[in-house]
Amino acid sequence: MSGKRSLGRFFTEYAVVIIFLVITLASIKPSGLSLVYIVQEMLIRLGRNSFLVLALLLPIYAGMGLNFGMTLGAMAGQIGLIFAINWNISGVQGLAFAALLGMPISLLMGWVCGAVLNRAKGREMVTGYILAYFINGIYQFIVLYLMGSVIPITSPAILLSRGYGIRNTLNLEGVRQSLDKLLLLRLGPFALPMATYMVIALLCLFIIWFRRSKLGQDMRAVGHDMAVAGMSGIAVDQTRIVAIIISTVLACFGQIIFLQNMGNLATYNAHDQTSFFAVAAILVGGASVKKATIPNVIIGVMLLHSLFVVSPLAGQKLFGSAMIGEYFRSFIGYGVIALSLVLYAWRSRRETERARESLRGAAAGGAPRGE
């Protein structure tokens, strides 16, 4: 009897992962793509996206939900890249330079984001989402109007023909795949960007170490219960801001890693989908708004991107239209986020109700009501 119940609970806990796995596996055959191709794509995308998704861990840990404001970090990284391209710095040094330049910007952005989110406790996710749009407007203003006019840009090749404002697409020739190719390992038909993987592994180690540190434990307490943490002497607001700041800086680096793999920068759009993909990935990997682990990240990236690779072609074969495949994968992407949020909200409400009921039941001397 209890075996069946825990099986049911297993399913609701991992509903999202299971649904995703089923849909992905079902789409592999119709897509007509070879397994080798899919696996190679997976290896590339793991390198490309994992850093960004890892950036989401700390805010979840600190109870702030899904950090849609990570876009701010992505924009900071892009500004760093723009200057690296401007001064024609290539190779890994270009990436390092972009990261170093983006760091103070993302520190500031993270601080702003954290402060704003602290003023919207209980509504962090919506606020983060809107804040990303707001800062996006400021970013557009800076990059489209100030750069080249007020902010000196020495390389005319990256400016628009009117003389100021950065071009729509920047060719990242100089730094293209410089991190990936630094230590490329060829294993049969596969090519693994080992340097990128090592950077990601370093980040994982950092996160594991951080969780054990005092600050990390503080965050965990804040995430668990803000009031109790406050009473234990933890500076709740400050801890939350630190979580967001770290997340933003990581997003900055992650976006640079992402873009070096892509090879070009869509100056005004590249960061639009960043938070969507990262959030979808971590949720697909089994994380929830309150709980996320590193395996969630890796599994999530693999699952989400494998579906994204196969579904357009599967849609083409099944429905005769690649557009349907694209819409389908957006639908699944948004649907997964929605489903995870719903399941999480539903479950947490049921838990609070169950707790309330059991208190009432115990007081009345009766057994707590069933599931």
Partner: protein, 156 residues
Amino acid sequence: MRRRRLLIRVALLAVYVGLATLAFVTGKAHTVLIDNKDTEQAEGIDGVLVEVNGGEQLELYRGDRDKVAVQGQGLRVRVELLDGTATEKRLRLPVGQDMLLLSIPGLLAGSETALEPFVPVNVAPPPEEEEPVTSDGLSGEPLPETLEGEPPPLAP
């Protein structure tokens, strides 16, 4: 205690600036034009093989010009003449310049001005582009249509 914190902060700042400068200087890419043309001091050589920083070997006849992309400050040029004699020279590239011109005849003659900055005269203007579209659709105006017959790109 406070002084120590200040010291750490200053040290971190120094490390930051140091790293940034290092990345800048070692990462800066230059385009070096390799010239085999007649200059004031020396004549162009009939046939010569040039190798820069251990890269691809370039074949230059008299009057030829080729280009090479270089990262960092140091330039190691290996010149091999038709008769088999080879010379190797090391040069330093100035940080500020993106494009430089290296005259091989000048280099072999030991001229001081063999390497000089190059300012391109005719830069082909980048292809015309439309103004970037920064709309987030909030205005209620239709987003610019993609090609006729295609649903608009996926937002948001």
